[in-house]
Symmetry: none
Amino acid sequence: MLPPADNDSSWLSRISIVLVGTSHPGNVGGAVRAMKTMGLSQLVLVAPRCDPYTSEAVARASGADELIQAAQRFDSLEEALATCSWVVGCSARTRTMPWPMITPRRFSLQLEEEVARGAHDSRIAIVFGREDSGLTNDELARCNTHVHIPTSDSFGSLNLAAAVQLMAYESRQAWLEASGDSEATALSDRQNEDAALQQSMQNVEWDNPLASHADVERLLEHFERTLIATGFHDPEHPRQLMARLRRLLLRARLDSMETNILRGILSSVDKLTPPSKS
Amino acid sequence: MLPPADNDSSWLSRISIVLVGTSHPGNVGGAVRAMKTMGLSQLVLVAPRCDPYTSEAVARASGADELIQAAQRFDSLEEALATCSWVVGCSARTRTMPWPMITPRRFSLQLEEEVARGAHDSRIAIVFGREDSGLTNDELARCNTHVHIPTSDSFGSLNLAAAVQLMAYESRQAWLEASGDSEATALSDRQNEDAALQQSMQNVEWDNPLASHADVERLLEHFERTLIATGFHDPEHPRQLMARLRRLLLRARLDSMETNILRGILSSVDKLTPPSKS
């Protein structure tokens, strides 16, 4: 079967590659070359620590440098993620608080569903951290899922552009698969049987669109205000409370009605608490 | 399940990355870095058109440059392939005479069989051509199979080190799969989001045991009592409220600390509501 035409790429154009605090222009150039070979076009730069459009960047981009010029820029990851329905953070680290962690392969399988689930104008972000120190704990805590590229135990030093290449490749695999190009993923017969069985078991259409990242952030802020008002949460002694609520709510992939219900519950509790002094 | 230890790598050490006529030392450096992250160690250089061990190569290798120093060198591809039982040539081109052509995914599946089939000292070669012109027809004709990395129709310009990265990644996937690490390829239970979430939580060492079914039921009962007391929930007009909370909390696979936190929040709200008449 012929692969789908590249101009059928509204699917791929919903995926953003988000580079946080990149230091080396050459890596930005390598990243956009990697993106363009796989049909991705949306670059987001968060607080870059270099000029991302130098001669070195253009040389490494090798004909893809218009993606750097067209890149959106933000000062914080928070702003960059506002309209995203699924946020995947690339992480090499085991964090203090464990987070759902998937492989690039599983990312590819899940991406197909996420594109179908999100509102037609919602975005999917794949977030890459700094060359030297990756993503901060706070940045990782804004992701629905973390993905770990399985590297050698003794040498895990994956170049930033190489990591983008692998994730862009797995994104394209998902798109080819979604477009009916089953050879792209080359499932063996045995695995096809599994897949067929699973498919016959479900594939439900969800009843509400996913909540946006910004909606979930507003819900978490509301939670914090309300829990302070009730006295349950003491910001002086936070005991990981908000971090744990954050992990729970991001993991659950709230839909828009669920965020409305939880906001409604919080508002009804607010009416019971004494008015804030501030 | 734990990934196999890297010292169990006689499997991976049978795979050679063969670079033919490479022009840029930086690409040799990028290639060995890509190889080493995926546990590959055997580099073969055929008639390089540059000094492969310059300061640029060492910089791009980022700690993997010993693979360049240990590389075997040959004047012709013919000599380089003498002891190989399976030769895979990376090709961007459609040739005059069609050749068996596979995707990187199919390569990964087939690699597992080929390693098992070949004599224990036989080698497998993945051959990459020149940056500007790829492999010649004569060189392509020495391969058992060609592999084509599916790139965009409008921009197929994959960097040499990026191509090595993708094929090294697919080689490692095959090894992980052969070693019984099925999560590496994650081809089963696709479409099954609940299983995927559960697996993504098991993939890392979670910090708390999962809540029991009974714990979650007690939490839901507590939710219902509290929401009736606050006036948010009217059992005469339930509007699917409890059904939606149930779906959310079951989907999230709560751990025991999360159920305790939510019970604690509900108890703190209970203190604000008038005592029940019953």
